[in-house]
Symmetry: C2
Subunit: 432 residues, 2 copies
């Protein structure tokens, strides 16, 4: 029966081959994320440069072109260099990106980001010509940065290795928190340079502070100890005390009393310093990411080699007795001898291959279980954004107001923010 059971001449697919293919697949995926890490680093650098350019442009426009003219040009040069690095990284990973059938969303987000970047030159011309309010310029930069951040979010969402997904979740939240700090810098600059904060400005600042905190919380949950220590160090510095003091001026008493406009420069410097320090945390996280990816890749490669040699040795054991089996097979009416023989062999062979397959299944299951925590953090953010959009549409309120309403609902109901957001999204489906 053994010899006859294959009616076509094609090679019969074997369990061992698919086990190896499963391992190779993992390896390929790790290699992909090693490259993705480079893309994320490039985005981190590019965003930092754009944030600095945005800050310089803000002061340049606010001073009618009198201040920061040179700093701005320097920042533009840096940003262009980082943009080229990003584009180079994109070109280098292009094949892997486009061949991965699951990356259509990532590719479209990259299209979005590239579109944003393609508007940079026009934006700079207009700023140079003082043909734009600083608010509009800030909004334009922020939009492009948001698009770049969305690429990092999606990269984290695509990760299947829990360790890698975790670090990318930490990275996205750190980058997002830093960007919210950048927006807070702009809001504060506007308020301090005018000498007063109106209600909208105070509310926006309060929202940005709170949203930052939440980002950093998630970052701290998923970061490696070194990066976390670096971040704790950054948040415990004397600068942060100063930031806190100015924040309170901006958020509370600004409406009633005029502020010293010279605080604007101090604020700008403090926040710029804060962002630069957060960038060093990003770099530490990225270094850790690369290290983990390489470790994982090396482990997976060793495990593959080990399994291949294991399977080979099993294969040899399996092949040796086969001629005997065929001989036995010529006596189909004496099935007992045959069965004992083939059973002995297939159990020795089968058990071992099956053990390896089972091991791999358990490992993959464990990875998928561990992945849940990272995915949940991403899911929470998506749900929250959906809930905010729903509130904005239904109540005709601003983004800041919707965030505030969400927080108020959570407080009143004694629930966590993500839970309230989930209820809102679920309700909307029911009420729609």
């Amino acid at each position: 029966m053994h010899a006859k059971s294959n009616p076509t001449p094609m090679p019969r697919p074997k369990a061992a081959d698919y086990l190896i293919a499963s391992k190779k697949c993992e390896l390929q995926n790790l290699a992909y994320f090693l490259q993705m890490g480079r893309l994320v680093l490039c985005i981190s650098n590019l965003i930092h440069a754009l944030q600095r350019e945005r800050g310089a442009s803000n002061i340049f426009l606010g001073s009618d072109g009198k201040r920061f003219a040179n700093q701005r040009l320097e920042q533009i040069e840096t940003a262009d260099r980082e943009r080229s690095n990003f584009e180079q990284a994109l070109n280098d990973i292009h094949q892997e990106l486009t061949e991965n059938p699951g990356s259509s969303r990532l590719l479209n987000l990259i299209a979005c980001a590239l579109h944003g970047l393609s508007g940079l030159d026009d934006l700079r011309h207009r700023i140079q010509a003082l043909d734009m309010t600083s608010q509009t310029a800030i909004a334009a930069y922020s939009e492009t940065i948001q698009m770049l951040l969305a690429v990092v979010f999606e990269a984290a969402d695509n990760a299947v290795d829990p360790a890698i997904a975790g670090i990318l979740v930490a990275m996205y939240n750190l980058m997002h928190g830093k960007e919210l700090a950048g927006q807070e810098r702009a809001v504060g600059s506007a308020g301090f340079s005018r000498g007063r904060f109106d209600t909208a400005l105070s509310q926006r600042m309060a929202h940005l502070i709170e949203a930052q905190e939440r980002c950093f919380e998630v970052f701290a949950n998923f970061a490696d100890p070194d990066s976390k220590a670096l971040w704790l160090q950054a948040t415990a510095s004397r600068r942060e005390g100063e930031v806190e003091r100015l924040r309170q001026l901006g958020c509370s008493i600004g409406r009633y009393k005029d502020l010293d406009t010279s605080l604007a420069d101090q604020w700008f410097e403090l926040m710029s310093d804060r962002m630069d320090e957060l960038k060093t945390v990003e770099d530490s996280l990225e270094a850790h990411f690369r290290k983990r990816c390489i470790e994982k890749f090396t482990d997976a490669k060793n495990s593959l080699t080990h399994q291949e040699s294991l399977i080979e040795s099993l294969d040899q054991h399996d092949r040796a007795p086969e001629p005997m089996l065929v001989l036995c097979g010529t006596q189909p009416n004496d099935p007992h001898a045959d069965t004992v023989q083939s059973d002995g062999v297939s159990q020795r062979f089968g058990r071992s291959i099956f053990d390896l397959v089972q091991q791999q299944a358990q490992r993959l299951q464990q990875m998928s279980d561990e992945l849940c925590a990272a995915k949940e953090a991403l899911e929470d953010r998506k749900t929250q954004e959906k809930a905010v959009l729903l509130l904005m549409n239904h109540r005709q309120i601003s983004n800041d107001e919707a965030h505030k309403l969400l927080r108020k609902l959570a407080m009143n109901q004694g629930k966590k923010l993500p839970d309230v957001a989930r209820s809102i999204v679920a309700m909307a489906d029911v009420l729609a």
Copy 2:
């Protein structure tokens, strides 16, 4: 600035290219699932043949080789043919499978299934030699079928298109329900041929009936109208009334009173007929799946062609005025003329590309939202299996008892089964 902004000679990646890449990615994914559909059909056919072989082997062993000897050999031939078809399909899709970095779990499950199939010849030898109880033989066939089913589950879990995922969820549940019917056939055969059902047998039967119902519920939620109508027709037949009558004998009065052993044959025929009819529903579902895949593929292809020509025409509009821009650019101190020009162009160009990118983003988001329902059905099953495993381990009870306990908990708490299962899994994490 326009002419100088690219410092390296590499081609600058463009938003339009990544938009097209995103569309192509979707197309590639649809093509992949078209092939996956073929694999699923082959699995459906193979499982059906194995179920028939299992049934024939059961009667063959139960009658000490006196009955169904020829039917069994015929079934073996059919099963071997279907196995070859399955292996052929695997070979044909091999490249796509192994090149997809997200399919390591699927590949390992295929390894599992191939391992199961590799034990078939031994199993058949032993059955031929009457060297095995029918219970052991049934367990061996069922295990292999379970492994094949796991491949279908994973295929459904990997789908990103909501329509395709939904049909695969329907397919998995239909196949699983039919397999539970097959196991019920075996349990019933054992009871009726002995003339009595002991408690364990009755409980097992009750569990299999309930589990079948739940599978068919999910199937009905996700099936196309034609397949659902076919299924409703199957469940409304006179045969089903007869099945119901015999089920009640097996589940309730069996313990107290001896049954007519001739019911065994009637039962076996009724259930075999039921399974054959369910197979025709599977075939209808598969035909629908293929139709939908081809429709989706054609739509996506047309949309790609349309967008490509749109982008080309935008590109030409964009290129025509560029020499003027360069001329303007020679007067950097007259930024106004330049800005208006370049703005006019870039807004016409930029807006339109951006609109397309946004459209694609919305489409992908909508798909991902719609996908949730299908994923939830799969997630529910995974959670339930985890909860059952936890209960089995913690309470040292059987699979059937764990299922029963789960249902009891749900009933007592007035909650849905998946919710109770989720609480158990969450608790276990806390208590571990």
